[in-house]
């Protein structure tokens, strides 16, 4: 009995480690894509008058790429602290959608384990973890381990390259023109394509693309949040009102062709 329990424990910890490593590996292209942004942030923040420890502290304690860029730009423009904080709130509101998407999976996860999940929620870790949920319907514990792997890899990379940017930023010219960030685009495409299983999902993606292009220059990334909400609404409404006839069309067609084959 005890031996069995020991074995169980062992295989559990092996599985935990495996999921942790998988989470980190699946995030690898996105980690690489984040490097130039971390470097630029480090250099820009110092340049705009943030102190050494505040620049690094923002990466350590806030950990939100877009928000940190907006904040340092506003610091450079000598904006009041309250205005900066309010702006950061708006820039990051999109992340709420990410946590909402995890709700059914983490329902029984202990509350204290949800806190790091919230702190480490980023576009990158969300995208790979969301794919993991779709493909393998993991338990809350499995998702937890996978997410930790992804998030810790993202976090250490972000803090490390912030530091490198602070030290060497001035000596690495044109780091954006390396085009490393295209890796993020490619990874997100690879994650979205398998999700386009029904017509309502395809419509959702198309609305998001068109709307995001139109609202590109809206301030503080509001265009991104607006486009996401609009596209989700379109997808949900199409599914709700045309659900059976329109959305199921792809599968029913298949059934139809199967039937006709059988009858012939």
């Amino acid at each position: 009995m005890d031996e069995n329990k020991e074995l169980d424990k062992k295989s559990n910890s092996v599985q935990r480690k495996k999921l942790f490593i998988r989470g980190a590996l699946d995030t690898f292209p996105l980690i690489v894509a984040a490097i130039p942004f971390a470097i630029i942030y480090g250099a820009l923040a110092l340049n705009n008058g943030l102190s050494f420890f505040a620049t690094l502290g923002m990466s350590v304690f806030v950990f939100a790429g877009a928000s940190q860029f907006v904040a340092t730009t506003l610091v450079g423009a000598s904006a009041p602290v309250l205005i900066i904080i309010a702006t950061v709130f708006v820039v990051n509101l999109r992340h709420m959608l990410y946590s909402i998407r995890f709700m059914p999976t983490i329902k029984f996860l202990p509350k204290w384990q949800r806190i790091p999940m919230g702190f480490w929620m980023t576009d990158e870790s969300f995208s790979v973890a969301s794919r993991f949920i779709d493909q393998e319907s993991p338990s809350d514990k499995q998702l937890h381990n996978y997410f930790w792997g992804s998030a810790i890899a993202m976090y250490l990379n972000w803090v490390l390259f912030t530091y490198i940017g602070m030290l060497l930023g001035k000596f690495i010219p044109g780091v954006t023109s390396w085009g490393l960030d295209i890796a993020m685009v490619l990874a997100f495409i690879a994650i979205v394509i398998p999700l386009l299983k029904t017509k309502s999902h395809i419509c959702c993606a198309l609305v998001a693309v068109v709307s995001a292009v139109i609202t590109m220059h809206w301030p503080y990334k509001i265009g991104l949040l607006f486009s996401s909400l609009l596209a989700i609404a379109v997808g949900v409404l199409i599914n709700k009102y045309y659900g059976t006839s329109f959305d199921a069309a792809i599968t029913s067609k298949k059934n139809g062709s199967l039937q006709s084959e059988e009858s012939s």
Binding site: F102, M103, I106, S127, I182, P194
Partner: protein, 107 residues
């Protein structure tokens, strides 16, 4: 300026939207309709992020054959459809992008 006030404030307003849905999940009745609706979130947000990253070059809208990012993205859609693999899509996409951006102009 009080930098640490700024950082603590930013920490709070960043953490709250990220954490709230996770904290209050047990107060919600997750209907099948709601759970199905969640599947539109990654599609919508990631598509929007991709669009803003490929249709604009240095802040200017660019829908042309000269836009290497856009061409790479369109190709990546087909690679993703065929391979269904994250790694293939990223690797082949990166190679194509480097060829278009760095090698092609030198020929």
């Amino acid at each position: 300026m009080n930098e640490w006030l700024l950082i603590s404030g930013m920490m709070v307003v960043t953490f709250i939207p990220r954490y709230l849905p996770l904290a209050f999940v047990n107060h919600f009745n997750l209907s099948p309709f709601f759970i199905h609706s969640l599947s539109y979130i990654p599609v919508a947000v990631l598509s929007a992020i991709v669009a803003q990253n490929v249709f604009y070059i240095e802040g200017a809208l660019s829908v042309s054959i000269d836009n290497n990012r856009l061409i790479t993205a369109v190709l990546a859609v087909f690679i993703a459809l065929l391979s269904k693999s994250l790694w293939w899509t990223v690797t082949v996409g990166l190679i194509v992008f480097v060829l278009l951006e760095r090698v092609l102009p030198t020929i």
